[in-house]
Subunit: 173 residues, 2 copies
DNA sequence: CGATATACGTCAGTGATGTTGACATATCTC
DNA sequence: GAGATATGTCAACATCACTGACGTATATCG
């Protein structure tokens, strides 16, 4: 707070700021998943089902391997929730055309409706956070938040996340 | 993308932006908790233990009730992990002075050392995210990220989060 | 003082989500 | 045809959350 580390140098970042952000990320995530969690409970689904629905909805035609890569869980864990979703008609599988070993995943009409509803509440919260930041100049808030969150991701993973997100269907909810 | 919703009006926020942020928050949180998770595994502890350690470390003297309020879990869930941490000497309890029913929580020397180490890796990631945002003007990145995350929190909860964080011991890693 | 409320601890059972390890099947590639 | 790859599945287990019930110590209030 003095001497060598003057505001002019500003070597890295002040510690109290990063400490705040660590906790804010905890609280933000807690509330961010809270809304969908409550909605899913009515269907007997949990957060794991939500994650699968989310990515299948936004990236139709995803393979099992790609989904495993995104979620970073084992195929046994994925299979349990995926089975639920397929059996109850929220997700459908189609055999890959070029590679018949692959199972391409798609949301059914029902699945798409449910997922759109879940996405709506999350987008609402994020949109509000962007539009009405609690203590900030409004200009560049999108880019700042996006840049911050992207920078939070494992560097070697960023390219994968970016190329994944470039594939996302954008004309949806 | 045309007609009524022109860039000039820019009614709320573009949907593709908020959609990106929804996913980025998932990825960011995934990697954010990944580092400590791996470290805790060596001690036989999990994420729940980390959360307790974190808040007790940064807010020494916290009561059980306050911790339950922060973590938003049941006392049975808290008790399981808290018992582990107390039995293994990472956290100590002291009877409240003004109210002898309360058990005030503190980190032991060992607990403080471990928690400081966990905090270090998380702060490192956040500091890097702030200092080297992936695609942003560097100015105001702290405030933007902080404002964004605060805005992500349930509005009625924000005052509680703010007053909690105002209590945090700041002369620590 | 005695009733009631509060802070905390604990027992018992359950469910969701993750793990490891092993093995089976279909399909592709060479 | 041999071996790699994509997927499915069985079994056992750990973590972390939940509900419901009950017990004890202490505080507060009439």
């Amino acid at each position: 707070m003095d001497a060598l580390a003057s505001p002019q140098n500003a070597p890295v970042v002040e510690e109290s700021v990063t400490n705040d952000l660590v906790e804010l990320l905890f609280f933000a995530y807690r509330d961010f998943v809270g809304d969908p969690d409550r909605m899913l409970a009515d269907y007997g689904f949990g957060r794991a089902h939500h994650r699968v629905l989310h990515f299948v909805y936004h990236y139709p035609g995803l393979t099992i391997a790609e989904l495993l890569d995104i979620l970073q869980i084992t195929k046994q864990s994925l299979n349990r929730v995926l089975k639920d979703l397929i059996e109850q008609g929220y997700i459908v599988q189609k055999t890959g055309k070029s590679d018949r070993r692959q199972r391409l995943l798609f949301c059914s009409k029902t699945g798409a409706t449910l997922t759109a509803e879940l996405t709506r509440v999350q987008v609402r919260r994020v949109a509000r956070a962007i539009a009405d930041p609690v203590a900030d100049e409004p200009k560049g808030a999108h880019a700042a938040a996006q840049g911050f969150l992207m920078a939070m991701i494992e560097p070697e993973e960023r390219a994968a996340v970016r190329s994944l997100m470039a594939r996302r269907i954008r004309d949806r909810s």
